[in-house]
Symmetry: C3
Subunit: 267 residues, 3 copies
Amino acid sequence: MPFVITLLSDFGTRDAFAGVMKGVILGIAPEARLVDLTHEIPAQDVTAGALVLRAAAGFFPAAAIHLAVVDPGVGTARCPLLVVTERGLLVGPDNGLLHPAAAVLGVREIRVLDQPKYFRHPVSQTFHGRDVFAPVAAHLAAGVPPQALGSPVSAMTELPLAAPSREGDELRGEVIYVDRFGNLVTNISAADVASFPAQGLSVSVAGVANVPVVSNYAAVPNGAALAILGSWGLLEIAVREGSATRRLGAQRGTRVDVKIRAVVTRA
Amino acid sequence: MPFVITLLSDFGTRDAFAGVMKGVILGIAPEARLVDLTHEIPAQDVTAGALVLRAAAGFFPAAAIHLAVVDPGVGTARCPLLVVTERGLLVGPDNGLLHPAAAVLGVREIRVLDQPKYFRHPVSQTFHGRDVFAPVAAHLAAGVPPQALGSPVSAMTELPLAAPSREGDELRGEVIYVDRFGNLVTNISAADVASFPAQGLSVSVAGVANVPVVSNYAAVPNGAALAILGSWGLLEIAVREGSATRRLGAQRGTRVDVKIRAVVTRA
Amino acid sequence: MPFVITLLSDFGTRDAFAGVMKGVILGIAPEARLVDLTHEIPAQDVTAGALVLRAAAGFFPAAAIHLAVVDPGVGTARCPLLVVTERGLLVGPDNGLLHPAAAVLGVREIRVLDQPKYFRHPVSQTFHGRDVFAPVAAHLAAGVPPQALGSPVSAMTELPLAAPSREGDELRGEVIYVDRFGNLVTNISAADVASFPAQGLSVSVAGVANVPVVSNYAAVPNGAALAILGSWGLLEIAVREGSATRRLGAQRGTRVDVKIRAVVTRA
């Protein structure tokens, strides 16, 4: 069965950077199955790339190779990495991009890509996606074993991700991602919420809104805000048939608190 | 020969929702051929999704599986559907999204997806594309027959689409879609136009513009408006090397009338 | 091994034009591997399409078929072309779109697509991507030889691309493309720059900025402008972790001069 290679980057889709990586891959591994996760990570936003990769990688077959390139340090000393996990391989720069996904998938070993014979030459200063990461992912798909591609190292760069904190009967978190619908994805997980009663919870956003925690969008009228455990397994704030980021003026970093609802609403 | 699965949604391409669906599909049907129709349907715009699906599905091989998810009612009682047609299978929510394509492809049978063993579990409240529709499309591609996936029903939700009306020597229609070039796609078909003389037709937009019906863009100067039978088989209003929606201030719902041309133009 | 067909167009990704082309291709060549270069070429911008195609095509396997459609003259007398090169086949309109890529790949023969039996019928006036170019690319992938698809011609339409000029110790070029990061790609090649000393070069943009030529982004502080030989093999002006087009107010056509640096900077 051909290997799946997923691609995630901040290259956008209008300049053919992603297409060029695919050309390089298909020259090395003609049978590889290529799947775009996204190329629309905001330019050089390693955190957004890391969160999207973490949210997506686990849904692919365990033999998948995940090629991720959000690489503001390209051309500097930051290392190129291969991470072997319990459920897939990760290839990309060692700048925190791979760490959240690796943690979720279960790290087996981390290798620095130090075997130039598996690179494309000459290696440019500006496009390691094409010259380092794509060739390595392709060689993996073509059967080269991880140990041939790099030397083991003991650690990788971690991404400083805010964790929610408990204060009395309140859980303090924040928005970590805003999706295309304007939904506010928080750092509050299903497990965090499970420590509260199942009913009567509300969420405040930036200290002011009073948003009910519900189990489906239809629990509130059109245009109303709601909090729900979303598809990432994290609490999200949404506006039914609308945009929470616009309505609530919230963005990445906005504080989100979960508490026993003070005011009973109609929801 | 591997099955083709097309994907259409309003998920956008920056959050990996589409990528996640592909991961789920490849886990079930590793050989499936995946083709994006588009993920840029405006958020929750069932009508736009239905029209694009109708415009595209017929160009695929008759064995194709068309997975479409524009699903503002996700998590509510709206049914998940499988429609077997003369020229392909349609999978998606029963909210009108599938109906125009089904009508064009020729409905054989309609089934409600009521066999949870073919879903991904736990089924989320917010992402049936991942948990219901993608797994079902994948099982179809992997050889599960339609009758195993759901119970037959007699009808599906239709989309209320405006039809053009004839009034004397005038045909009254409207803009139903604005494409990426700013072309105004109307609900007036080639057959409707065929009831008029082949020459000397003009079109008014919002009652004012006087646009000649021509057979190619070059029939008018750069920057001029024209009406033409477009690639959807419908009358479109365009501006040569420009945008009709901007120039004419027209959008979805804007009235478009076809009539014998009153004023002879240079075209 | 299945043939790779790349697709480049100005169709965007929200209307399914690209998806329809893929449906047509898969109906003729079910095993073809489809890779999007981009569909986000600005509408009817033949020059941008030609430059992106030139930048990307060489990275694909030599048997690849490159289908490119930026076609403001669709429906007029402009010819549909097939160009056989040393490293791949090019299919698209004869309006200059294919010429820069053909020149780089090495032209073997040029053929006018004059065999309607390989088209999709009826051939529309507005969408030769679907009715002419996609079917021809698919037939090539399915094994039809170039000579069956069209008659040889001696020349193709060239694209008027500005070339840099040398004036004393100064090289005068211009911005030919602005990429998604806001980097300014110039028409000044690595070979042009090689005629200068390796150290102490600077670049002026629109006659004013004084930008050092460096070998990696990290040579300047965050937010500073730099010039670098980019992944296209051309001199690019960038702003480290920023946008050069916004910072320098430059766009396609803006003059860029390379000279021995007059003022020593900290870089």
